[in-house]
């Protein structure tokens, strides 16, 4: 079965899925294009990690389980250096097949 656990940025390879959730998780809020709605983010996202010009770039896409309104379910990318502190959060876990 699937296995979710805490991890570090070094656990990431392109295609890794990262779970995020938790209304209290302010670090995830920063993914939002609209900080005014930061209190609404008891949400989930998939973050696939992809390569771009030889570097790893985390690409996040909307999770259909999100309760966010459709307009807020955007996608984007983030550099792993910015991602790293967020991986320490209790609300962020990396998915691996066990």
């Amino acid at each position: 079965m699937h296995n979710c656990r805490h991890g570090t940025v070094e656990d990431l390879v392109p295609g890794t899925v990262i779970h995020t959730h938790g209304p209290e998780d302010r670090s995830i809020v920063d993914f939002s294009p609209n900080p005014d709605h930061s209190d609404q983010y008891d949400r989930w996202m998939i973050i696939g990690v992809m390569t771009s010009g030889g570097e790893l770039i985390a690409k996040w896409v909307p999770n259909p389980s999100s309760k966010l309104p459709a307009w807020a379910r955007t996608e984007g990318t983030i550099h792993p250096t910015e991602l790293e502190p967020r991986l320490a959060s209790d609300n962020v876990r990396i998915e691996v097949a066990a």
């Binding site: 699937h2 940025v9 070094e10 390879v13 295609g15 998939i46 259909p64 097949a97």
Partner: protein, 708 residues
């Protein structure tokens, strides 16, 4: 000179790239790298800690062989991920998908989309195809967006023909729905079905990828002039392109390899034995043999044991390897294969006849149409197995209505939610939430110009004005500001202040419309009779028109019904976003034009109360007006217990300062039952009387002065 390892890219491992922090884990982030072993020629992913150790050992161990041995032990001990190589190598052996934790492929792979991942898992998907397909498709779409780099993004939908394919000309990916719709028959869990369909989608997205996908080489088959016969050309291209694009997708996205492996195994399990050739003879024999030998080499020895295969297949191994290693381009590769097949006179005649027929039927320039034609014999029987990563079975075909409904639900972002307050001692219905799309029917159902009571309603809905006061200082006229008088001595006369008072209200008003079947019965509305749901729609429109222009007041309209998913015995409630500021008013036509089922009032009110709390500001006055005809009615939900549930929910709302007022649209209301459910309610007696009725109850709950 020791040089056992090739670096990819060739640079000092620990040397950070531009813009990336130094390699020490204590000082910042450094991504990993693929490192190739010259012993096994495999690439391994090393993270920064492992790279540090690698660097240290590279300097410490002088002897090449000792360093090689150390590295081989190291990658095993550290369980370093091996780069995916795809199905084309090693030849005639089980497919090497890499042996890492990311590619074990056991059980379900991904559950990121499950809303209850960290809670208790209770499969709640039901067996309603449209909804299940809609939810699965949203999961798949999200994952595929990682691989799909198209701008605009590829459109991803369920294939109606029960086979996956990519239409590059239309920018569309179509995915075989059979793993989801036939879970029980195929003995799949829902998660496994999603995994497989995701793998099918990733495979197709690989074809579509602009950098390495089939999109980048497809024109070679058509230019300078279309190759022929296009049916055979397309099938051969599919075989080697499937292998190449899966390998490239695996290289680019090792985390997705396990999905591709699942598809590989699943598709083989679905494959029909009637497509196993007995000898290398006809065109269908050759195509079926190549599909087995090149795409499932682990089964080649067992199935292709006739001497004719042993004589022929080595040439095709070399042919495939030349293409996969980039020594020959697609067009030259396909031409070489056509020439090889044409060495046999019978096959040559067969191919010439096929080319002539393609020209006659006008499919000579269409790869997809020509392949579909070539796979069938003259009686329509499928004689060649599918080349792409899927399986065609007519029984698995999605009927048009289900396909259309699933597509609609995907567009409407159908998803499940939970509510806070379930009915005591009862099973909760599934809560489905969506934002229904307007269509011609709903626009036609929109009631045009409303009556002339909008102004009266505006007057009736008196919200408490905010009395925020603040001062604007440093003015040259107004009231004396003692704190600034010192300026006078410096000939600065800005010693006055002006007091500002904000008098507009801050209010959040939600309307919840009962869209159940009972609302389709007739009610007396003023001097005429009409369906209750039309009355509700008319009232919603009047209230929106009255509220939307009030400064500081934000109105929303929600709707609910239930048990539209008839096959679900546990009950299902359907909650809908109907209108919010910025939407066209014609969306209100959805109230009467949508499907009408049961009504889980308590659950619906609880859901809207939570939306009000989410969307409003703490200082807002919060009002929820329920437009309904009476009593809760759902699967295992009704009578006194459900009424008590409604009351529990409305009382909870009031504790959270969301005041619920019901407008009961029914001529045969039982006041006792209404009072059992709602602390505040009015019986609808006609639009002309509503302003006065609402004015009284609103002033009561908000403690304002009634306009009437």
């Amino acid at each position: 000179m020791k040089n056992p390892i090739k670096f990819i890219p060739k640079q000092k491992v620990s040397e950070p790239s531009k813009g990336v922090a130094p390699a020490s884990p204590s000082t910042g982030y450094v991504y990993g790298k693929w490192i190739r072993s010259t012993v096994t020629d495999d690439d391994y992913w090393l993270n920064s800690l492992q790279l540090d150790e690698f660097d240290d050992m590279s300097l410490a161990i002088e002897d090449d062989k000792k360093f090689n041995d150390w590295f081989e032990d190291f990658v095993v001990k550290e369980k370093c991920q091996k780069r995916y190589k795809g199905a084309w190598t090693p030849r005639a052996a089980p497919v090497d998908w890499g042996g890492s934790k990311w590619s074990t492929g056991e059980g379900s792979l991904s559950s990121w989309w499950r809303s209850d991942l960290y809670g208790k898992w209770a499969p709640s998907w039901g067996n309603d195809d449209e909804r299940t397909l809609a939810k699965a498709m949203q999961v798949i779409q999200s994952t595929i967006r990682i691989v799909d780099d198209s701008v605009p993004p590829m459109t991803c939908a369920w294939a109606e023909q029960a086979m996956s394919y990519t239409d590059l000309s239309k920018n569309e990916i179509h995915i075989n729905p059979a793993p989801v719709t036939k879970q029980k028959e195929k003995k799949l869990s829902f998660e496994e079905a999603v995994d497989i369909c995701t793998g099918l989608g990733l495979h197709e997205a690989g074809h579509a990828n602009g950098e390495y996908g089939t999109r980048s080489v497809n024109n070679q088959l058509l230019l300078p002039k279309p190759m022929e016969p296009m049916g055979i050309v397309g099938m051969l291209a599919n075989i080697i392109e499937d292998i190449r694009t899966e390998r490239e997708t695996g290289k680019e996205f090792p985390g997705f390899v396990a999905y591709l492996r699942k598809v590989h195994d699943f598709t083989w399990g679905e494959r029909s034995a009637e497509h196993n050739p007995t000898e290398w003879k006809t065109i269908p024999d050759a195509m079926n043999a190549l599909i087995i030998h090149l795409k499932w080499p682990e089964h080649s020895d067992a199935l292709l044991s006739h001497q004719s295969f042993k004589d022929e297949l080595p040439w095709w191994d070399e042919w495939n390897d030349k293409y996969q290693t980039g020594k020959v381009n697609l067009r030259d590769s396909i031409q070489a294969a056509l020439d090889r097949l044409a060495l046999d006179e019978e096959r040559k005649k067969e191919m010439e006849a096929m080319a002539n027929q393609e020209r006659i039927e006008g499919v000579a320039k269409s790869v997809g149409a020509a392949v579909a034609r070539a796979m069938q014999d003259e009686w329509g029987k499928q004689v060649i197995a599918e080349t792409c990563a899927n399986h065609v079975d007519e029984d698995d075909k999605l009927d048009d209505e289900t396909a259309q409904k699933a597509r609609q639900y995907v567009n409407e972002k159908l998803h499940e939610e939970e509510v806070r307050i379930p009915e005591k001692g009862k099973r909760k219905p599934k809560i489905w939430v969506r934002r229904p799309s307007e269509d011609g029917q709903s626009k036609a159902a929109y009631i045009g110009k409303p009556g002339n009571i909008v102004e009266r309603l505006k007057a009736a809905l008196q919200f408490r004005p905010e009395l925020a006061r603040y001062f604007t200082r440093l003015q040259k006229s107004g009231q004396i500001d003692e704190d600034e008088l010192w300026r006078w001595g410096d000939n600065d006369y800005r010693v006055f202040q002006q007091q500002n008072v904000e008098v507009y209200p801050k209010a959040h008003v939600a309307l919840l419309v009962d869209m159940s079947g009972s609302m389709c019965s007739i009610v007396k509305s003023g001097e005429h009779h009409e369906e209750k749901v039309l009355t509700a729609q008319r009232l919603a429109q009047l209230l929106i028109l009255a509220l939307r222009d009030m400064e500081g007041v934000t109105p929303y309209v929600y709707g609910h019904t239930g048990d539209l998913a008839y096959s679900d015995s546990s009950g299902s409630a359907d909650f809908m976003y109907i209108w919010e500021p910025g939407d066209p008013l014609s969306r209100l036509g959805l109230i009467s034009s949508s499907d009408h089922g049961n009504n889980y009032d308590g659950y619906a009110i609880n859901w809207v109360v939570d939306k009000v709390l989410e969307r409003s500001r703490p200082e807002d006055q919060k009002l929820l007006i329920v437009l309904s005809d009476g009593y809760p009615a759902g699967s295992n939900y009704g009578y006194g217990e459900a009424m008590d549930h409604v009351r529990e929910v409305t009382d909870d709302a009031e504790k959270k300062e969301v005041y619920v007022i019901q407008v009961a649209i029914d001529n045969s209301i039982r006041p006792h039952d209404q009072g059992r459910m709602f602390k505040h309610w009015v019986q609808y007696e006609g639009a002309d009387k509503l302003p006065q009725q609402l004015a009284r109850v609103v002033s009561k709950v908000l403690n304002t002065v009634a306009a009437y």
